[in-house]
């Protein structure tokens, strides 16, 4: 290492560093260390003059290592790597020393000791720098196609955007039709346009798009490979109907004698045992529910088979699997409503006339169980007084801590449903805060709080009881008028909390995506990168990243698609610099590193008569688990080799003093 030539640059970061320690003293101390050719301090090393200073020194002093003692490498490592590149050096010959977050910010009360610590940290970096070497990354091509998981409005929008950009899209939907929660809504806030009217054309666009292939009634069961080259294994659940033969005529559904609660109507309606999810379903293909089908439960009937004009019924159908090779994955599986029966004080699930907001959507929908009439479930009578409870389970330490982000606007919309269908009805809205934050929402709130016989009451019911006639009796304290109001309502609507879907947790583990405290997918950055994940090539669209209303979901989905398009259009993925590297002479082929690798990047194979480990440079994400596990030291991680780390440790442990 005789020709190691180091330049050390100590930054003041204005007063952040310079206000606590004397950077000139640190630089002076560094100047005396071995291999250091030049050392300087400067007020803002990241500024143009600061960068120029280093660039000129590299040329003037023929430097081949650069140490910058400044802030966190998370902040400016790329900045100074750019300086090295411009000066003709490999960027990985830079060593940052964090004397701000690790020193002056935390030790400002003991400046002398902080200065000693800065000197030690710089000395350790000087020792380490001698062992730095050039690192070059490699590139691999990407497969220009994508899987979109979830066919709600987020998945629909993301699929269309990707497909329109010329990317082949496989849209995976767990139910038999795409459409998601939006298909269940009657109208959308704040414009009150019919939900199906704006959604179904998009569903048709998806089904007709030459670049989109829909896998309905299917689920992702495994993902292997890595960004740019994923292998996605999909399970096609048996529908007991050969969809390639079926024309969607509906004769089977019409004649089926089996009955079951209709999921699409949130349990309020009844469907057949062979059924379309809803009339506008895409694809319009039926599925047999084996739990309610007379053939599957009792071995009788077979009416559907008899009436099917194309012979599509297939009671022996089994599940199938396909493997899709794609460059990117967009997760758009949306949300689920919190189980409101857990709020036992409100009686949901116990009292028939306590319903969820989504159930009211179904009651209000023209294709719903009451053909759009708002009737109370217990006796089919028109309610005269309706209570709407906001934050049912949301913002609650015992249930769901966060805000559902659409309950307030939905409640205002629900006021409209009731007043529109039942002009004489009284509506009481129990709120804590009305969060009408979206475009046009405040105006929407203004309009409906002014309606006759609509009362916004600032209070929250605590216990709802059932009267003998099925009506609901409860007290609410109104903190605007300072009085306890005794309510007798015919119908109570709970605007419930929102949680990630139940099938998210297993999928999350397959995708290796982190989650936030609420269980939703964790974005790469909450503000700047809200639709990417910590796993390259996996993008988030819509409410799986956190509760969203439709406008925000669509914006998020479009942004996720744009981000995925950008990723795929770039055409290549690049290896990380901190790759694991095998010293094949030392490797004994023991294979301990293989299972420890979370990315499946290591394999062991025969090479010149002996077994050695091999690292897939694209899969490797540079976590270092293999290097730490390797018993012989054959596995080393770029930029964190044993020599580099230990030389630093020796100095910090006092060895060089």
């Amino acid at each position: 290492m005789s020709d190691v030539r180091i330049g050390v640059y100590v930054c003041h970061c204005g007063k952040n560093i310079g206000g606590v320690i004397n950077p000139a003293k640190v630089a002076e101390h560094a100047g005396k260390l071995p291999n250091v050719v030049i050392s300087r301090d400067y007020v803002y090393m990241c500024s143009s003059p600061g960068q120029l200073l280093i660039e000129e020194d590299i040329k003037k002093y023929n430097l081949n290592r650069v140490i910058v003692a400044a802030c966190s490498p998370r902040m400016h490592e790329p900045t100074f790597q750019g300086v090295l590149k411009r000066a003709g050096l490999n960027p990985w010959l830079l060593q940052m020393v964090n004397v701000r977050e690790h020193d002056t910010w935390v030790h400002e009360n003991v400046p002398e000791k902080a200065e000693e610590k800065a000197k030690d940290l710089v000395a350790a970096a000087v020792a380490r720098a001698a062992h730095l070497y050039e690192i070059n990354t490699v590139r691999a091509p990407v497969v220009k196609s994508a899987v979109v998981i979830g066919g709600g409005i987020a998945g629909i929008r993301a699929s269309l955007d990707l497909a329109n950009a010329g990317i082949k899209v496989y849209l995976i939907e767990k139910k038999q039709s795409i459409g998601g929660k939006m298909a269940q809504l009657d109208k959308t806030f704040p414009t009150l346009d019919c939900s199906q009217c704006i959604l179904t054309p998009l569903m048709v666009d998806v089904s007709r798009h030459p670049n989109i292939e829909i896998y309905a009634y299917s689920e992702v069961v495994d993902v292997s490979g890595s960004a740019g080259d994923f292998k996605v294994k999909v399970r096609l659940k048996p529908t007991y109907v050969d969809w390639s033969k079926c024309t969607g005529c509906g004769a089977c559904v019409e004649k089926c004698p089996g009955r079951a609660p209709k999921e699409f109507d949130e349990g309020l309606g009844v469907r057949k045992a062979i059924y379309f999810e809803f009339p506008q379903a895409v694809p319009r293909r039926p599925v047999i529910d084996t739990e309610h089908c007379l053939w599957f439960t009792k071995g009788i009937c077979k009416v559907c088979e008899k009436v099917c004009p194309v012979g599509a019924i297939d009671y022996k159908q089994v599940e199938r699997y396909v493997e899709l090779n794609v460059g990117a994955i967009v997760v758009a599986i949306g949300y689920e409503l919190y189980d409101l029966s857990k709020l036992s004080e409100y009686g949901y699930g116990k009292f028939k006339n306590v319903i969820s907001g989504l159930q009211l959507e179904r009651l209000s929908s023209a294709d719903g169980p009451t053909r759009g009439k708002i009737l109370r479930p217990s006796d089919g009578k028109e309610p005269k007084t309706v209570g709407i409870v906001l934050c049912a389970g949301s913002r609650d330490e015992n249930h769901v801590k966060y805000c559902c982000r659409f309950g307030c606007a939905a409640a205002i919309k629900h006021v409209y449903y009731i007043k529109h269908a039942l002009p004489d009805a009284k509506v009481l809205v129990f709120y804590t805060d009305v969060r009408a934050f979206g475009k046009g929402y405040e105006e929407f709130y203004q309009k409906f709080r002014s309606e006759e016989n609509v009362f916004f009451i600032r209070g929250r019911p605590a216990e709802i009881f059932e009267g003998r006639d099925g009506s609901l009796i409860f007290d609410v304290y109104d903190s605007n008028t300072n009085q306890l109001i005794n309510v007798r309502a015919d119908l109570v609507v709970l605007e419930g909390a929102v949680v990630p879907p139940k099938d998210w947790e297993p999928l999350r583990r397959i995708l290796k995506v982190s989650c936030d405290p609420g269980g939703f997918a964790l974005e790469l950055h909450p503000k700047l990168r809200p639709f990417e994940t910590t796993s390259d090539g996996i993008f988030l669209a819509g409410a799986i990243q956190g509760p969203k209303d439709i406008p925000d979901t669509v914006a998020h989905a479009a942004a996720a698609a744009a981000s995925a398009i950008g990723f795929l259009a770039k055409g290549y993925v690049e290896s990380v610099p901190y790759l694991a590297v095998v010293n094949e002479d030392l490797c004994s082929g023991c294979s301990l590193c293989v299972p420890i690798c979370p990315y499946g990047a290591i394999s062991v194979s025969e090479k010149e008569g002996k077994r050695v480990a091999k690292v897939d440079v694209i899969k490797c994400k540079g976590c270092g688990a293999c290097a730490a596990t390797c018993p012989s030291g054959a596995m080393q991680q770029n930029y964190f080799t044993d020599k580099q780390v230990l030389s630093e440790v020796v100095v910090l442990a006092g060895g060089a003093k």
């Binding site: 009881f465 059932e466 003998r468």
Partner: protein
Amino acid sequence: MSKFLLFLGCTIPTKQYSYEISVRNVLPKLGVELVDFPESGCCGFPLKGLNKKAWIYMSARLLSLASKKGLPILALCNGCDTSLRKIKDLLMHDKDLREEMAKLLSNEGVKLDINAKVYHTLEVLHDFVGVERIKSLVQRPLKGIKVASYPGCHMLRPSDIPRPEDPVEPRKYDSVIKALGAEVGYYPDKGGCCGATLLPYSAKHALLIVASKLKTIKEYGFSAVSTSCPYCMEMIDAKQDAARSEVGDEDISIPVFYLTQLVGIAMGLKPKELGLNLNVSPVEGVLDRLGVSLYE
């Protein structure tokens, strides 16, 4: 055979004798062995508003005395049960508080030990004896009697500590009543409060609470009420007349029984063995319907 320390608290051994009598006569017949706990006394619950530490200290003392005896506590009173369990939970999670209490207790030669288990009458009946066993011992089914269970606040709350009844879906109480052959049913605010704690501040308002409770229960077609808390009994049994005068002579009178009294009646015990002659509410009506004379 399950064995418990019989913890009477304050109200039961000084006033609500019928609870004590019925427990002493019924539980042993169900295979429950009761061991007297004469050094127990007040659990401290009524003192919490005056000084929370005094409350904690009194319950810590009881838990320690029981732990030394190595027997689980049977708390008859809802307040005692809550108090002991709440303090056990507090002490379990607060080292400083444990040290403070250990020091106080050392002044009277007691070593702090919060390990004693605590159970309420309802748990002994439902969880230890069991509904099936009770059913098998019924000689005089309470046929045609519709009984409103009145668990009382602290049988259900606070639910962040173990409660005798299921706080989310109360069902144990009713399943014991059903085992006796009686009917059960829903009425609003079944888990509601009797108002006893309001007495020192305003007896009038406490009585209004009693009146409204009994009115609802009558409206829902019940012929009797059952509780397992001496405070609730003191309010809804003994104060019916006083409550009626607060609401202008509305008929709110209804027989009220301790759960152990109902179990005893169904098992064929004599009314006096259950202290039924000490109930203030008109229990005779129900007894007549079962062909039992109060004075037999």
